[in-house]
C-alpha cells in the first residue's frame, strides 16, 4: 500500500474522529496551558504537573472506547480487500493526535537546557503517546477477561506518575534523559507487540462472527437481563428488568467497590509512607474529579441501546420517569462504596466527609443528566451487532457537555475546598464551615430538585420530548 493511499485513509479517519470546532477548542486549551506554563506555580511545582499527567494517562486509559468498531466499518471496510490492521493503525494514529496535544500542552513549554534534551523530550512524547493509544485502542476489541491485560499497565503507569513519578515513563516528559527515552520506547514497543493482530485478522473473514451475538459466551451473556426475571407484566417491571443487566451486577458493581477501596488505600496509606509529594488535600480533590468523570461514562451506558418506539409503549413521560427511577437505584448502588470510603476517610482526614454529600448529589443527577448530555453530544445508536452506527466523534458539543459537567462537579466539591481552607485559617473556620454546610445543603437541594424536574414535575414531558427529538436527529429509530 503506497504512502498516498495510507495518508488518505488516515486523513479521512482523522476527519471522522474530530470536528473542526473541537480542534479549535484543543488549540485554545494548548494556548491557555502556555500561559499557565510561564506562571511561577506551573514551572516550580512539578509535583502538581505529575498529578495532571497521571490524570491524563488515566483518561487516555479509558479512551480506548473511541477506537471501537462501528457498524459502518463492518458494512464498508471489512467487505473490501484492505487489511483491518491498516485501518486500525490509521485510527490509532488519529487518536494519537489528541494524546500528543494533551501530554504536550502540559510539558512542551518546560525549560530545557540544550537541543539534546529537546530531542529526548520529543522522543519521550511520541513513545508515551504510542504506548497509551496502542493499549487503549486494543481494549474495545478484546474480551472482558483480556481487557485487564490492556488496562492494567496503563493504570499502573498513571498511578506511579502520581505516586512516584520517577518510576513512570512519563517522567521523561518533565525531565528528559536517554534512560526515559529507552524506558518509554520499550513501553511503546511492548504496546505495539500487544496489538491484537489475530483478532484483526479474524475481522477480515469473520467480522459478524467476532462482533455479533455468536461471539464467546462471556460477552454474549453480558447483555442479557438477569436470570429468569420476567419482563412485565407491569411497565415498572419491564423497565427495571431491562435496566439491570449482568454487566452491571457482575462487573460494574464489583469494579466500583474495588476502585473505591483502591482509592482509599492510595489516599490514606501511601501518604503515610511518604510517597506523595503533592498535598493530601489536592490529591483527594483530583481523585474525586477523576471518579466523577469515570462515573459519567458509566452512567451514559444504556442510552445507545434505547429504542424510540419503546417510549411510546407507555405514555412517554411515564416511561422516562420509570427509566430514571430504575437508573437512580442502580447509580446509587454503584456509588454507595464511594460514599462509604469518604465517610471512612473522614475519621483521619475530616474534610473528606464533605465529599459524601457530593456523592449523594451525583446519585440524584447522573441518571438523567448523563443521558441528556449524551443526547446533546450526539452519541450514536447501537442497532445491529451491538455496535454503534457510526464512529465516536470528538466535537465541540462533547467539550461543552464535559465542561458543563465539570462546573457541576466543581460546585459539588466547594464544601470540601472550604473545609480544607478552614484548616489553614482557624480564625475564620466557624464561618467557613458554616458556608460549607450551606453549599452542601444547597447542592443536595438542587440535585433533588433536578431529580424531581426530570421525573415527576410538569416540565418532565417537555424535557423528554426534547430528548427524544434529539435522539431522532442523531439517527435513533
Amino acid at each position: 500500500m503506497n504512502a498516498r493511499r495510507l495518508w488518505k485513509i488516515f486523513r479521512l479517519n482523522f476527519k471522522m474522529m474530530y470536528s473542526g470546532w473541537f480542534l479549535a477548542s484543543i488549540a485554545s486549551f494548548f494556548a491557555v496551558s502556555f500561559v499557565a506554563s510561564v506562571s511561577a506555580i506551573w514551572t516550580e511545582n512539578y509535583a502538581f504537573l505529575f498529578l495532571f499527567l497521571g490524570v491524563i494517562a488515566l483518561l487516555l486509559a479509558f479512551g480506548g472506547g473511541y477506537l471501537g468498531v462501528a457498524k459502518s466499518e463492518v458494512d464498508f471496510v471489512f467487505s473490501t480487500p484492505v487489511n483491518p490492521l491498516v485501518v486500525y493503525i490509521a485510527k490509532t494514529a488519529a487518536l494519537a493526535v489528541l494524546s500528543l496535544f494533551l501530554f504536550g500542552a502540559f510539558t512542551i513549554y518546560l525549560p530545557r537546557p540544550d537541543v539534546i534534551s529537546h530531542v529526548e523530550y520529543a522522543a519521550s512524547l511520541i513513545f508515551n503517546t504510542a504506548f497509551f493509544v496502542l493499549m487503549a485502542g486494543a481494549s474495545p476489541l478484546v474480551s472482558i477477561r483480556r481487557l485487564i491485560l490492556y488496562t492494567a499497565p496503563q493504570m499502573a503507569v498513571a498511578a506511579v506518575t502520581i505516586v512516584k513519578p520517577e518510576l513512570s515513563p512519563l517522567y521523561g516528559l518533565v525531565y528528559p534523559s536517554p534512560f526515559y527515552v529507552a524506558y518509554s520506547g520499550a513501553a511503546a514497543a511492548l504496546a505495539f507487540l500487544a496489538i491484537p493482530r489475530n483478532l484483526l485478522k479474524e475481522l477480515a473473514t469473520n467480522a459478524y462472527g467476532v462482533l455479533g451475538p455468536s461471539r464467546p459466551a462471556e460477552d454474549g451473556d453480558a447483555v442479557r437481563v438477569v436470570g429468569p426475571a420476567r419482563i412485565g407484566p407491569t411497565p415498572w417491571r419491564a423497565v427495571w428488568t431491562t435496566s439491570v443487566n449482568r454487566v452491571l451486577l457482575e462487573v460494574d458493581l464489583p469494579l466500583s467497590a474495588v476502585a473505591a477501596a483502591v482509592n482509599y488505600v492510595l489516599l490514606r496509606l501511601l501518604p503515610e509512607m511518604g510517597f506523595f509529594n503533592a498535598s493530601e488535600a489536592l490529591v483527594t480533590l483530583l481523585s474525586f474529579y477523576l471518579f466523577c468523570f469515570v462515573f459519567l461514562a458509566f452512567a451514559e451506558v444504556g442510552l445507545d441501546e434505547e429504542r424510540l418506539w419503546l417510549s411510546l409503549a407507555v405514555e412517554p413521560a411515564r416511561y422516562f420517569r420509570l427509566r430514571m427511577l430504575a437508573r437512580a437505584v442502580m447509580v446509587a448502588v454503584l456509588l454507595a462504596p464511594w460514599a462509604a470510603v469518604y465517610v471512612l476517610m473522614s475519621l483521619s482526614y475530616p474534610p473528606a466527609a464533605r465529599l459524601a454529600p457530593a456523592v449523594a448529589a451525583l446519585a440524584l443527577t447522573l441518571p438523567a443528566a448523563s443521558w441528556l448530555l449524551a443526547a446533546y453530544s450526539g452519541r450514536p445508536q447501537i442497532r445491529d451487532l451491538e455496535l454503534p452506527q457510526s464512529l465516536f466523534r470528538f466535537t465541540l458539543r462533547e467539550v461543552l457537555a464535559v465542561f458543563l459537567y465539570f462546573m457541576f462537579v466543581v460546585f459539588l466539591s466547594v464544601p470540601y475546598i472550604l473545609c480544607v481552607a478552614s484548616m489553614d485559617i482557624p480564625a475564620l473556620a466557624p464561618l467557613i464551615l458554616l458556608d460549607a454546610d450551606v453549599v452542601s445543603v444547597a447542592s443536595l437541594a438542587l440535585s433533588a430538585a433536578f431529580f424531581y424536574l426530570t421525573t415527576y414535575s410538569p416540565w418532565a414531558p417537555s424535557i423528554w420530548g426534547w430528548f427524544v427529538n434529539k435522539l431522532s436527529e442523531n439517527g435513533y429509530v
Binding site: R5, K15, F76, D384
Partner: protein
C-alpha cells in the same frame, strides 16, 4: 491495483464458469440453525434472486459469501476464490450491500466514496463514476448524516458498486428508495448484469425479483427448497390461476 485487478477479474470470469458457489454451508447461532447445508452456484453473468421468509437464512448466506461471517462447515467461493482462504482476492472481485447499511455519517458523500476508493486502491475516476451512476452529483458535498434514509441507501449502493465488481451481493437493495429511484437503480443493475456482473439479490418483493433476476432460489429454515427460472414460477402461477406471490408463499411453507 484497481485497473489491473479489474482486467484480471474480467479475464478470470472466462475461466471460472461459476462466479458464486456455495458447497454445504452450515451456520448455527447457539441452538438456532441458520443455514443447514446450503449448496448452489451462480454462473458468471447470472442474476439470481434469493427469496425466503424472515429468518430463513438469506442475510446469513450473503454475509458468508461476502467473507464477513465464517461458516461452521462448507465452502463459499466467489470468482473462484475461497472467501475464507483467499479473502483479499474474493473481496476485490465482489461488491456487497448489506441490509440496513450505514455509510460513514461524518463524511460527505464524496469523502465516503474517496475513503472506500482508498481502501480498495481505486483512483479518483471510480469516485466520479459512482457519483454519476447513482445520481449523487447534487449532494456530493453534503454530510451523510444529513441525508434522508433513501439518499443514504443510494450512497451505500454507490459504495458497493464503485469498483464495478464482477460479483454483486445485494441484501434488499431497494429499501427506502422512492419509486423513481427504484426504477433508476433497477435499470442500472440490469445494465451491469448485461455487461457481465453476476448478481445475487435478496429481496422480499417478488416484483423486484422478477425484474432483476433470471433465476430464483427459495430458502426456508436454512435450506434451499426450490430453484428455478423466473419464467417457471410465472408458468406455475398461470397454470394454478394464482398470483406469483401465492406460488412463492406455498414454496416457503
Amino acid at each position: 491495483m484497481g485497473v489491473m485487478s479489474n482486467v484480471y477479474m474480467w479475464q478470470l470470469s472466462w475461466y471460472v464458469y461459476e462466479c458464486i458457489a456455495a458447497e454445504g454451508l452450515r451456520r448455527s447461532f447457539g441452538n438456532v440453525v441458520a443455514l443447514d447445508g446450503v449448496s448452489f452456484e451462480v454462473s458468471c453473468g447470472g442474476a439470481v434472486a434469493l427469496l425466503g421468509p424472515n429468518g430463513a437464512g438469506k442475510s446469513t448466506l450473503l454475509r458468508i459469501l461476502a467473507g464477513l461471517l465464517r461458516p461452521d462447515a462448507g465452502v463459499a467461493r466467489v470468482c473462484g476464490y475461497d472467501v475464507q482462504r483467499q479473502p483479499r482476492e474474493a473481496k476485490a472481485c465482489m461488491g456487497y450491500l448489506p441490509d440496513d447499511p450505514s455509510p460513514f455519517l461524518d463524511l460527505s458523500v464524496r469523502e465516503n466514496l474517496e475513503y472506500v476508493a482508498a481502501l480498495r486502491g481505486l483512483d479518483g475516476s471510480a469516485v466520479d463514476w459512482a457519483i454519476e451512476a447513482l445520481g449523487l452529483g447534487d449532494i456530493e458535498d453534503r454530510l451523510a448524516s444529513s441525508l434522508s434514509r433513501g439518499k443514504r441507501q443510494r450512497l451505500a449502493l454507490a459504495l458497493a458498486i464503485m469498483h464495478r465488481p464482477r460479483v454483486l451481493l445485494l441484501d434488499e437493495p431497494l429499501n427506502y428508495l422512492d419509486i423513481p429511484t427504484q426504477e433508476y437503480v433497477i435499470k442500472l443493475l440490469r445494465e451491469m448484469n448485461a455487461a457481465g456482473t453476476t448478481i445475487l439479490v435478496s429481496t422480499h418483493i417478488m416484483s423486484i425479483a422478477e425484474r432483476l433476476a433470471k433465476e430464483v432460489l427459495v430458502i426456508n429454515r436454512g435450506r434451499i427448497v426450490w430453484r428455478g427460472a423466473v419464467k417457471e414460477l410465472k408458468a406455475a402461477a398461470r397454470d394454478a390461476g394464482e398470483r406469483i406471490e401465492e406460488v412463492v408463499a406455498r414454496l416457503m411453507r
